[in-house]
Symmetry: none
DNA sequence: TCGACGGGTTACAAAACGGTTATAACGTCA
DNA sequence: TGACGTTATAACCGTTTTGTAACCCGTCGA
């Protein structure tokens, strides 16, 4: 498990790196925003920890950049009392925050919780019932039918539904997970994507068996 | 979702209650530590917000008491610059803190984050007597009957009634909780919604057993 | 006895929702 | 560049949900 930590305060960075290393994580360090972005590109970490106040590019900018291309969990470090910063961070798509100063124990607990929530810890068995998903190939296989190619968005949607198979996932959450933060509120996008996905995976797209609608709530994947 | 807020500063308490109510939470108020503990016992809130400086019993004491019997998320309110307080609060088992003064937006963001972290956001198995509510699916199950689909408003109403099951909830309170500020004063909306909900969940909608009227006051959910 | 009031019921209109289709914008790759 | 697959935006339709108004019918006090 690889974690990218960016902070311009050497001591703080060292403490974070030490704590996480002790816990068995591989830590990549960056001491400013530009470095952080470069490291993000080259290392492809599973989680990112960003200090808000950094030279080069602020944590906000880095977070925003990362969110344009990835949904990797992001934790922001704020200084105590700067609530405005915090709100902005969450709005930019950060998944959690931690106020300095914090204890190593707290940091570790939060990191673990984030990884668990993102479903990173257990290599997500991307299958449910008769549906098997191949993320690398961008394909699904339903039953013993030949595999179908999926687009990026279709794949992500199906991924979310499979991860919660049997339970309804709210439209808002799907919007958030599939499109990132910007998509929130846009019903049409989801409507369309669901429609296209149904055309591909349902036997009779007009009477969906697997990708069912939960009126007023969202959608759910029904497996036998 | 029920939140207990304790603060001896009337203005502060009112602001918190208003903000959270607007966001759809059910708020229980307390203006000192003793009240807070009593309310905690009787209401069983899903989250507790405690001001540190309170007469009766300080936020510390209340937090400590709560922690002896519950793992409910606790947020502490501190005044800026009192670092020792903060550390002590976290040591006593508080999950988060907020420095006064704070913006409503900030409060809401933190509360949501806390509930999310506690896994309360949608998995709350809301139930009272023979009634079980599935917020994700937008369904109720009465006894062993097949689950019924509820609309958004019906769900919210039932949620409020279940959260206070056995006690009468005033019409004004329901109006506020279900529709937000705009609905205040409009009895007809509530009348209608109650009627529709009764049609769905009551065996004989003309003689309601569960969703009873408290004449001149409001409605209450009666469970065996 | 009357009439105002609160609550229940009925009926209908307005708005929101979900599915569908069409079309435009965008990105990629030959 | 142009063709293609993908994604975004808009319009339309039928259905469900919600809002609004009217009426009914008890109770209660003048």
């Amino acid at each position: 498990m690889k974690i990218l930590s960016a902070d311009d305060d050497k001591d703080s960075l060292a403490l974070i790196a030490f704590t996480l290393s002790q816990a068995g994580y591989l830590v990549v360090k960056a001491s400013d925003g530009v470095q952080a972005l470069r490291a993000f590109e080259s290392e492809g970490p599973d989680l990112v920890i960003l200090d808000i106040n950094m030279p080069g590019a602020t944590g906000f900018q880095v977070c925003e950049q990362i969110r344009t291309k990835s949904r990797v969990p992001v934790m922001m470090l704020t200084v105590r009392g700067e609530e405005e910063d915090l709100v902005r961070a969450l709005e930019l798509g950060a998944d959690d925050y931690l106020s300095k100063p914090f204890s190593p124990r707290t940091l570790l607990a939060r990191v673990k919780a984030l990884l668990r929530r993102a479903g990173m810890e257990n290599t997500a068995p991307l299958a449910a019932g008769r549906i098997r998903l191949d993320v690398d190939e961008h394909t699904v296989q339903v039953g013993s039918n030949p595999p179908l190619r999926l687009t990026k968005l279709e794949l992500r949607l199906l991924q979310m539904l499979i991860a919660n198979s049997g339970h309804t996932v709210s439209s808002d959450r799907l919007l958030m997970q599939v499109w990132g933060h910007k998509g929130s509120g846009d019903r049409q996008l989801l409507k369309q994507l669901v429609h296209r996905l149904r055309q591909k995976i349902e036997v009779d797209p007009a009477a969906p068996q697997m990708l069912q609608t939960a009126p007023g709530a969202g959608y759910k994947l029904v497996v036998d």
